[in-house]
Each structure stands twice: as structure tokens, then as C-alpha cells.
Symmetry: C2
Subunit: 216 residues, 2 copies
């Protein structure tokens, strides 16, 4: 393994370990030695990549948006819908994503850590997709992409949180399905609306197709 | 002052102090002596009402729904809209409400504390109002009150959280206005929809009318 590749893998192992520890303990109670133990790397390797707990938190916060990766769709609104279901599904199995969400959401995360950053990153990513949806004639003329996008990011945040508090996120996909049923009629033109797939098992199906593609 | 009335006031002072301390420090870092100092009551009085930090947290969590009190409206959907704007407005000035929201939302709140309780209480309160709205013919026949209500509670939770992270809640009322603009067309019959007031200053105006009423 080339030296650079090894460094990338070590860095990734540390970020994943940090995400899992932040998910379990939150920012304040997390210590660098907890991350060290989880990552199974040397102290030197950890401090080479991350000189402080703050820098670990920044790295974990910056890892959220890649979890929204989905196959491109001809219909951009479907791609946006898919992102929400896939992130919901990945929250169930991925501790780094959960840790990143916890850092963004917990009030205890110190103000020195820019925990608003993931909100902005999601909003930017989704605004780009909304602009494409607009170009393709999928959006009602009343839609202001940035407003709608920030509503979606905020609603998603609270819906996953309520689902975690009430059912350990077991009903998150059902709740996302309800969200889209209420919001899409204010966004999509009537020609697109009935073709959008917002059923609760959408995330599972999209992830299965991604895995098939990776295996072939 | 009668003995009972004094006890009620003391209890209230303790709950308000606990809410403020939970808002600033979260559940884990809060100590009973911090609450004691803030409430300016005797140790004996505090332990008489609240034998533990857990019992303080329960009391604070149970104080959320009363902050949704608004004047009754002929149109029940307007009353529901008003509750969201008024709670948004009160979040800016009331530390007990903020502390209660923080306990419900923070992942660090231990599982022994039922932090799902405020979500359930809001859902029940709003479902009652939705049933009244249905009786008065305000709702589209497709609306399932419980589903819509849980969407609103989840969305509100995330929207206030995102607003706190990005602007210290300064833009919360604008964000609520955007939420209603997107969701109401899926809820309200066309005769009611254009009459609903969902402008961002709705909360301020409703609170001003409540204060006038209290002063007269």
C-alpha cells in the first residue's frame, strides 16, 4: 500500500471512530483517548491528522453531505426525495453519520465549533439540485429554491430527532413519506407530482440498487 | 399569602430556575446547587418539591405545552398556526421554555428521562384542535390529523433548531411562515386557505393582543 493511501485510510478510521464516540457521548464527554482506543491507531497518527478534539469535530461535521449520495435521476425532484430517504436509512446503520448529526443538533456543542456548517452544506447541495429541477420544468413558478430547501433541511432535522426520541428512528421512513406527501404539492408541477416515488421503503430500494451496482 | 399559594410560587420559581440552568448547561452538567442558587430558595424547599435532578427535568419537560396558549379563534387552523408562532416568539424570551426544548432535543438527556413526552403532549394538544377543525369543515378530506400533527411537531422542532444554529433564532418566525406556506395547501380547504394569517409577525401580534387583554 502506498504511503499516501495508508494515510487516507488511517484518517478515515479516525474520523469514523470519532463519529461513533461523538454519537455515544456527545462533544463534551468525548476525550481523544476514547477516539484513540476506538480507532486502534497510534497516538502519533491521530495527532498528525487531528491536533485537537475541535479538529475532530470539524472533520465529523464535514462528513454529513457525502451520505446523501444517490444515483442520478432524470427527474431531479426524485433525486432530492431519494437523498432524504437514503440519509434516513443510513442513520440507522452508520455511527459516523449519527455522530455528525448529534454534533450539529446538540446545544452543548461549543460555539467555537461551527455546528451550523452541515445545515449550510445541505442547503447548498439541495439548492443546486433544485436549480436543475427548475431548468427541467419540474417546479411550480412560485417556488423559491433557497426557502424550500431550508424548510426541507430543518424539517428533516426535526423529524429524525422526533423519530429518535419516540421510536429509536424505527419509524423515520414513514415520517419522511408523510413529509413529502404534505410538501410536494407546493413544489412540483402536476405532470411530475404523480410520478414521484415517496413510499417509505424508497431508501431501502435505492440503497439496494447502489449495492448491486457496486457488486457488478 | 396563604401557605398553599406560597408553595405554588416557590415551586414555580424552582421550575423556572431549573429550566434556565438546563438551557444553559444541559442535563448532564446541571447540578442541584446551580438550581438552588438561581432560584434563591432554601435547600429544604427545593428537596420538598423535587427530590432529585430527574424530577426537576420531568417538571421542566412537562411545562412546554402551556407555552402554546393562544386566544381561541373561530377558525381552528388559525389557532394552530398561532400556537406555532407564539411558541416561536416565546422561545426568544423564555428560558424555561428553551430549557424544556433543550432537554427534549439533546441526545445527552439520559434514557431514564422520558424526553419523548413533550412531543406526545404537543401531538395530543394539536390533534384535539385538528379534530375541531375537521368538524368545522376546514380540512381537506385527505387529511389524517395524527399524521399531519406529528409532521408539524417534528418540522417545528427542526426548524427552531436550525434557526438557533444559524441565527440564534432571529429568523425563526420567517422560517415558520415558509413552513405554513408549503404545508397548508395540503391541509386547508380552498375557502379557508386564503383567510389564514401566516405572516412572520403573527406571533408578535397575538402576544400583544394577549398582553392588552391581561392589562384591561
Amino acid at each position: 500500500m502506498a504511503k499516501q493511501e495508508r494515510a487516507i485510510r488511517t484518517r478515515r478510521a479516525i474520523v469514523e471512530a470519532a463519529g461513533a464516540v461523538f454519537d455515544e457521548h456527545g462533544y463534551m464527554s468525548t476525550t481523544i483517548s476514547m477516539v484513540l482506543e476506538r480507532a486502534e491507531v497510534t497516538k502519533g497518527a491521530l495527532y498528525f491528522h487531528f491536533p485537537s478534539k475541535e479538529s475532530l469535530a470539524h472533520a465529523v461535521l464535514n462528513e454529513q453531505v457525502p451520505f446523501g449520495a444517490v444515483p442520478p435521476q432524470a427527474c431531479k425532484l426524485q433525486e432530492i426525495v431519494d437523498m432524504t430517504f437514503v440519509v434516513g436509512q443510513r442513520l440507522l446503520s452508520n455511527a459516523l453519520l449519527r455522530g455528525s448529526v448529534r454534533l450539529a443538533v446538540d446545544q452543548e456543542t461549543p460555539s467555537g465549533i461551527d455546528h451550523g456548517e452541515p445545515f449550510r452544506q445541505w442547503a447548498e447541495r439541495l439548492t443546486d439540485l433544485f436549480e436543475l429541477a427548475r431548468e427541467r420544468g419540474e417546479l411550480l413558478p412560485t417556488v423559491k429554491p433557497r426557502e424550500t430547501v431550508e424548510l426541507l433541511v430543518g424539517s428533516f432535522t426535526g423529524i429524525q430527532l422526533m423519530s429518535r426520541a419516540l421510536t429509536g428512528r424505527a419509524d423515520l421512513a414513514d415520517r419522511l413519506s408523510v413529509m413529502w406527501a404534505h410538501i410536494l404539492p407546493s413544489i412540483a408541477v402536476s405532470g411530475v407530482l404523480p410520478r414521484l416515488d415517496t413510499r417509505a421503503d424508497r431508501g431501502e430500494r435505492v440503497l439496494a440498487s447502489l449495492e448491486e451496482r457496486a457488486a457488478s
